[in-house]
């Protein structure tokens, strides 16, 4: 059973529906006991880093999440659900994260020149379809073309200290980390559940992933 953690940060249904569409048995849960039974865990997240971190802490689900991660079972973070895995977020002040990946989550500058028109600045949030370069081979990237487009909506991005954990990179004024991976952890800044066929394929691989 795949569990999508419900800690009051929206967008759960689209993640669950996308997983169902690739054949998975999925449950959205806010029960620690249920989360402990999960074969695979998904941490979604939209909104501000601090709000999400506070909600996740207040939900009382963190011990179950840690237990899952430490047991080596597959874990997928999406968008702010990826950002929360870093040591700290810089949105509305500096706030601690789960520190599974060392490094801060910082904002895109609003004065980055648009490469297609040097007289203009790139918009923030980074919203839309961007190409992801796969920087390591990984079971979740299988059969997905290198450079495939994925859907992003974010103003902040994680900066891992250890370059080895970068699984995908995209360019938006600067190169930034679009996916991270280590052992049983995989996380994407983009939304696979909104990234049409390539996103569904990644989710399908996640459901079959046995790290």
């Amino acid at each position: 059973m795949i569990i999508v953690i419900d800690y009051g940060s929206g967008n759960l249904r689209s993640v669950a529906k996308a997983l169902e569409s690739v054949g998975a048995r999925v449950r959205i849960s806010q029960q620690a006991e249920e989360i402990k039974q999960a074969s695979h865990l998904v941490l979604p997240g939209v909104g501000a880093f601090a709000d999400c971190h506070r909600n996740l802490t207040a939900s009382g689900l963190l011990p179950a999440l840690w237990q899952h991660v430490e047991a080596g079972k597959p874990f997928l973070g999406i968008c702010v659900g990826m950002q929360l895995l870093f040591s700290e977020g810089h949105e509305f002040g500096i706030h601690p994260g789960l520190n599974l990946f060392a490094g801060p989550v910082i904002r895109f500058a609003t004065d980055m020149a648009d490469p297609e028109d040097g007289t203009r600045h790139l918009k923030v949030p980074h919203m839309g379809w961007n190409q992801v370069q796969q920087t390591q081979s990984h079971p979740l990237w299988r059969d997905i073309p290198d450079g495939a487009h994925f859907y992003f909506v974010h103003s902040y991005h994680g900066c891992p200290q250890d370059p080895q954990v970068v699984a995908g990179r995209a360019d938006y004024g600067i190169p930034f980390t679009a996916a991270i991976a280590r052992d049983n952890l995989f996380a994407t800044q983009f939304h696979p559940e909104k990234s049409q066929r390539h996103g569904l394929r990644l989710l399908h691989h996640f459901t079959e992933w046995r790290p």
Binding site: G10, N11, R13, S14, K17, A18, S21, V46, G47, A48, T110, P115, E116, D117, R120, H121, K123, V124, P125, H126, M127, G128, W129, N130, Q131, H149, Y151, V153, H154, S155, D171, Y172, H191, E193, K194, S195, Q196, G199, L200
Partner: protein, 258 residues
């Protein structure tokens, strides 16, 4: 590199797609879920439903349409029309919408945009702006646009550029900009308007209103400086398919997702 987005828009009334046909009023144009699936398969980058169900009709039908669409379509879905409260937004997001479009309610009570973005995050708040040119110079070039409501009939006295900046400051994640002078004319987007708003903001701008040809899409992105282009009839009446539009934009040097 970031791709420019093509967004087909479907007008939905009481659970059916409707299209305005000149001199004939609204005609039934099919099942919105079916249309959404077709656009998804063709490679649309996002979808927008504009709910034009009158307030006295059954407004819950849109929730059913959104829910059924979200089960089958895995690209971002924006739903606009008649959204007046955070409760309205929550219902649509729970049904499977990814973003909501706020229009008239923002004009009547701008703080609503602040409340919505602080509760749900800027990423899901699209502010829809209907603007009309109100001042031209002696050569006929547009100088100023104002916000209109009620389908372009009621002026509000609000300057369009200032209004867009205010909506950005209030937490809008994106602006859907419709030219009421061009909407339905097939003469192309109002490019000076689009450019003025796109240059004044740091958030993305979606151009809308007036598309008649594929070249209009390219012009909205190039000259208008929009980040995305929205169109209804050219796609809906199969004048052009999404792949045709993308192939054309690519031939004009615009980066699109294929």
């Amino acid at each position: 590199m970031m791709a420019k987005r093509i967004i087909p828009c479907l007008d939905v009334r009481a659970g059916r797609v409707v299209k305005g046909v000149q001199f004939e009023g609204l005609v039934d144009a099919g099942d919105p879920v079916e249309a959404a699936r077709r656009y998804d398969e063709e490679g649309a980058d996002e979808l927008t439903f504009l709910d034009i169900t009158a307030s006295h009709e059954n407004r819950d039908t849109i929730l059913d349409v959104v829910s059924r669409t979200a089960e089958q379509v895995f690209i971002p879905l924006t739903v606009g029309g008649g959204i007046r409260s955070n409760a309205d937004i929550r219902r649509l997001l729970n049904a499977g919408a990814d973003k909501v479009g706020i229009n008239t309610a923002a004009v009547f009570r701008p703080e609503f945009v602040q409340e919505a973005s602080s509760q749900f995050g800027s990423q899901c708040i699209v502010v829809a702006i209907d603007a009309k040119c109100v001042e031209r110079n002696s050569e006929g070039l547009p100088l100023r646009w104002e916000i209109y409501t009620h389908g372009g009939r009621k002026p509000t006295g609000l300057d369009a550029v200032q209004w867009a900046q205010r909506m950005q400051a209030y937490g809008a994640g994106e602006i859907l900009l419709t030219s009421m002078d061009r909407d339905g004319t097939k003469q192309g987007y109002d490019l000076p308007l689009t450019r003025a708003i796109a240059d004044a903001l740091t958030i993305p701008v979606i151009a809308s209103g007036g598309v008649g040809t594929l070249q209009d899409l390219a012009d909205g992105l190039h000259q208008g400086g929009a980040d995305a282009v929205l169109a209804a009839s050219i796609f809906h009446f199969r004048q052009h398919s999404i792949p045709e539009a993308k192939a054309y934009l690519r031939s004009r040097g615009i980066n699109v997702r294929l």
